[in-house]
Symmetry: C2
Subunit: 291 residues, 2 copies
């Protein structure tokens, strides 16, 4: 069984990007600059954004953290977005989700300049990705593709079952895996909450990508021997014995499924670190596009 | 067995749209206006465009046919596109594909104003569709959804196999069928040229949508009893005995598959007429958006 070590591959990627940045410094080219907009004080969001900013520091990117009050109005936030769009020093920026309930997420998303949308969430980028044009690919699916590719896992002609149809993981990864190109050409099935025969599907899958958010949903009796399993689930499960009062659980019952799998991602340390690495990669691409 | 009569439903739709136009005339609102750009003299393209223009006339739309020489330069074509974008009298326009080889299709597509892109081929529209925002949906998949919906065929939780991953049919219909909403919530598998076990997949499918372009590819021994079959294939097969020297064949061996199917589209008279009707529907929507 191969452990798909996202932490290691993400570090490899960061080292590669760091070298590119060092070369850019030497060549007196622009240093990539990422900004992150964080609204309010949500614990998980603070952790994610903090991790993104630290990663920028590690590899020599400039980074800017913009913290806004939970009760900011939509109008003021939109104004902030327009400023970021105008700011030529910035190559890309992200608006950390989820947003407070009084703000229309779609409106904010559409206001982001697609050329700075390094999260790849803007429909202009999503459409280009789906139509096989040059685009920013959302970081999580981009990371999954990179992980599968770096471990040399064959995908062409394989049956891949994607569990979940979210805009940021299930839908884009299902498209990418069935396109021509890197980690592509798979026969892809998208399963979701209305799917009736999920076990029948997963039992026949060569590759399973689970992005459901139900801890330990995928059990050993649902997979065939030799399956490749990518676990995108990250759920905080309360645990009084744990130092933080919770433990992180994936969608996959790792202990039992790993015994049947030919390759599997751990949680944490699998897809999670890859997501940040690919955000950095997108920011580098945004910067390089302007050379 | 129910024959999914696209010709009839398309006519129903046209009658409905015609009534809306008549009401608009009465209300002194703008009359929908569609333009079609046709380059060169390709026989099939001439037929399609001619049919679109005639349909406009039937339902009271204004229409403009713009015919350009086969050897037109990309630059002049782009100039024409910008003129159409500027023309406020136009609600929508299409550029009939395929384009001559010396013209970059992607460049032309990206130049079309997404608000006038009634073919729904621009990535901004494609992305919005995939992300469940308001968008122009490409006419063929839009027509399939409408046809399935009007015949009251259950799709929720059903297993739908889409054969083909093209940008204009396979990919968008696979997304639409698995989304929430009209004719949605199906578990969708996308099969394509690299798929190995196609017969195994189609044998388990409740719904098969074939957009492959191989005449009579789908045979009776590949489907289960009660299957719903949507045939998007339109191939001209040479036939010396036929008045035009060819006959139109779908992807499905209709005579034998129809005996096992619970519902099936004929070719011609199935998806084809729906495509034109939905182009008109998109043009009406484009016009109404400006009210």
């Amino acid at each position: 069984m191969i452990l798909l070590d996202g932490k290691k591959i993400a570090n490899d990627l960061k080292v590669e990007i760091k070298r590119v940045v060092e070369q850019r410094v030497e060549d007196e080219k622009k240093i990539p600059h990422l900004a992150a907009v964080l609204i309010g004080n949500d614990g998980a969001s603070l952790t994610y954004v903090g991790s993104k900013v630290r990663s920028c520091d590690q590899i020599g990117f400039k980074s800017t953290l913009i913290r806004l009050e939970e009760n900011i109005s939509e109008k003021i936030l939109l104004q902030k977005i327009y400023e970021l769009n105008q700011d030529d020093s910035l190559d890309g920026y992200i608006v950390q989700l989820p947003l407070p309930k009084h703000i229309d997420e779609e409106k904010i998303l559409l206001a982001i300049d697609p050329n700075k949308d390094v999260d790849g969430f803007h429909p202009a980028n999503f459409g280009k990705m789906a139509l096989e044009m040059e685009a920013f690919i959302p970081a999580t699916p981009f990371g999954i593709i990179e992980l599968i590719d770096r471990y040399g896992i064959e995908t062409s002609g394989k049956h891949c079952v994607v569990i979940g149809r979210s805009h940021i993981v299930g839908r884009p990864i299902s498209i990418l895996m069935s396109q021509k190109g890197k980690a592509g050409n798979a026969t892809v099935t998208v399963a979701h909450s209305r799917t009736k025969n999920i076990k029948e599907l997963t039992l026949n899958a060569d590759i399973i990508i689970s992005a459901l958010g139900i801890p330990e949903f995928l059990r050993a009796d649902m997979v065939k021997k030799g399956v490749v399993v990518i676990d995108v689930g990250i759920t905080r499960v309360p645990d009084k014995g744990a130092p933080k009062g919770y433990v992180i659980k994936g969608d996959v019952a790792f202990d039992e499924v790993s015994k049947k799998a030919s390759a599997i991602t751990p949680v944490p340390g699998g897809v999670g670190p890859m997501t940040i690495a690919m955000l950095l990669k997108n920011t580098l691409l945004a910067c390089q596009r302007k050379d």
